[in-house]
Symmetry: C2
Subunit: 411 residues, 2 copies
């Protein structure tokens, strides 16, 4: 990270002019927060990316229209418990009614309200509970650390820890802040994951440049994580920029845009890594770095194939130096390469060891390899010796608990 980007220990309310809240609405879960709101005191430019799944949840279809057509946004409301996916016209109706209710409660235009959902597919959301929840949320909105934590807790499903980050950096003389929260855990796979990510910044930036920044960075961050290969119906990434930092407005590429991109990349990569590490049942972060592939795109294909392989993930769970599985996953990635040029190293806090060199097993200590692989963050570094394409993918190990969580998620 460049010196100029400072992590400030805040969450989704860190940027000026943003408030949040999280309350118990009883949508599906009991005795836990399950409805979150983000509110911008000023109109915010918005950009978004959404699931590539053909089956798109109602709130995804709804938000796609808002991002495309609304001149600005003021609020986002998100429930956990029910995904509002595969719910047909009644599901779309819930989105419209929710936006109307938020509009009335906060006195903002209905078309400035974003809707998000995560949870079980196929169930309808009880509108009466949403309405009661909105009243509570409107009362609870605040820019405090606690309000951010409440919102972050309310969007979790099988996540074990909330994901948040805030950074500040300079644009001109102005201090600009990005505060963000996300949830992940299961149905996590590139393009995109069961993830909801809300990025709030006080940067003054045009909608066009905000959109450009998001679309440049997501393919290198959120689309490089995988938990289980299942691309969800609800994936949503939204970034809102309200201009409260009063920096020289970013309306084109250049030094200021680059600075913003650098900070945004730091935020996105941090959230992506932490979503992978907190994958369902995960005991460790499984990072895959592919170096010297023939192209950047092939480096991405190769890295994601290894990070997504059930057999590689199970080997990482077992701290087992089964390098043949990494090689096998490279081989079915779709990228062409010469297996005789491939070398593989394991790297963690404990050190590093080369286990495979230019197509052949290297003599190495199994004990040392197991020791390196037993750390909670493990990197497999693969050298293709084909060109200068490199990429990193983030996954997690495959554990008994993944199966346990998913064999009976609904109950």
């Amino acid at each position: 990270m460049a010196e100029k980007i400072k992590v400030t220990g805040g969450g989704v309310t860190a940027a000026k002019g943003f408030k949040a809240a999280g309350v118990e609405a009883g949508i599906k879960y009991s005795n836990r927060k399950d409805l979150a709101m983000i509110y911008s005191e000023y109109p915010a430019a918005v950009a978004g990316m959404f699931t590539s799944n053909v089956v798109k949840a109602a709130p995804v279809l709804y938000d796609m229209q808002i991002v495309k057509n609304s001149p600005f946004v003021r609020a986002a409301i998100v429930n956990s418990g029910i995904a509002n996916a595969a719910t047909g016209e009644p599901g779309m109706q819930v989105c419209r009614q929710t936006a109307e209710a938020v509009s009335k409660a906060l006195d903002i235009p209905a078309d400035s309200v974003l809707i998000g959902s995560t949870g079980v597919i196929g169930e309808q959301i009880p509108m009466d509970r949403i309405n009661a929840g909105i009243t509570k949320l409107a009362d609870a909105l605040s820019d405090t650390r606690q309000a951010a934590a409440d919102a972050e807790a309310a969007i979790m499903t099988t996540d074990t820890v909330p994901k948040e980050i805030s950074v500040t950096f300079k644009i001109g003389d102005a201090d600009v802040t990005i505060g963000a929260m996300s949830k992940g855990s299961g149905m996590i796979h590139p393009n995109m994951c069961t993830m909801l990510a809300y990025i709030c910044t006080d940067c003054d930036i045009s909608k066009e440049m905000l959109d450009k920044a998001a679309h440049m960075d997501i393919p290198e961050t959120f689309n490089m994580i995988t938990v289980d290969g299942d691309t969800s119906t609800n994936d949503t990434y939204l970034i809102m920029a309200n201009g409260c930092a009063k920096n020289p407005r970013i309306e084109s590429e250049g030094k200021d845009f680059d600075t913003f991109m650098e900070a945004l990349h730091f935020v996105d990569a941090y959230l992506a890594r932490h979503m992978a590490k907190d994958g369902e049942g995960a005991t460790r972060l499984f990072e895959v770095k592919v170096n010297n592939a023939d192209t950047h795109d092939n480096a991405k294909l190769l890295a994601r194939s290894v990070a997504g392989s059930s057999l590689c993930k199970a080997a990482i769970f077992g701290c087992d130096s089964n390098f043949g599985r990494f090689l096998c996953a490279l081989g079915y990635s779709g990228a062409q390469f010469d297996p005789q040029k491939v070398s593989i190293d394991y790297v963690s806090r404990k050190g590093s060891v080369r286990v495979f060199e230019r197509g052949l097993k290297k003599q190495y200590s199994e004990e040392a390899a197991t020791d390196i692989l037993s750390e909670d963050e493990v990197t497999v570094v693969i050298d293709m010796d084909e060109g200068d394409g490199s990429a990193t993918a983030w996954g997690c190990d495959l554990s008994y608990d993944y199966v346990k969580i998913n064999a009976d998620y609904r109950s």
Copy 2:
């Protein structure tokens, strides 16, 4: 199955003129058979299909040349324990030396010997143990039921049961037999799996028509099974036809070819289903039928996507009617469709239940659904209402044992 195809309860030695053996060679495992041989008393036409993985094991590269260039084959030798993959030039040397040793022991041309391996990737095969094993195999070769069982046991890795089948049918007045064995279990995914399949028939059929039959049937059978999404380095399907049945020789398409195709399809589909059902850690067969897709190719894409989804597989393990996951997996399959037209039924010996109809959840008894899903063979039937393309894929559930087996497979 057509009346005219009879299952005869034999294995890989059922067809006339074929012998087999399986012995303990101590390649990697102790106290178990790990080296198998098939021998044809007469020259046999051969056809094969091999892994699509860029990283092809040495025996795969070797067999591809034999199938392409040799006028006929006489024997196949297969070891379990070490895959001879990622072994470079020394690995190819092992193949050549093995073929030479079999050639001498059986007095057949070296280029009529097929080589197969399955097991750990990256290790070299100890040639001295192969040589000692070949001597034992040559002595043990027999056309008995027991010899077939020995060979079938010798090619297993984490398989829990051997896979074999034999059928007879008429071509003209001649009784023609197909006997076959295969192994599967892990690294199982379409195009193709960690599978070895050896199909021996006494049918008199030209090499060209044998090749055509195999290439027509495999995409509908072996390439429609998935256990874990990992396409192995060693997948091999070989079919040998020695003409001992003395049927009117098949040299072109027509009635006789169709009869042969029907019998072959029965054999291939049987082995494919049983490999899926015996997937690593599997507790049940998970069959996915997609009906009325816009095209046959899209029906295949859709069926394989659902059968291969970790989340769907975990739901099947938990007997959990989580139909949203099936819908989600359809959505990221790559096929385009209208989610509002989709209907989903569960079917097993216990009966059937419709859980999702034209884009919306149907009212149904959770208890009845769980009961149906708790059978050892479960079918999810999906109606796309888009056209007349249909396809079936076979997978298995994702259990704790899959993780256990693969977290430390090597030890």
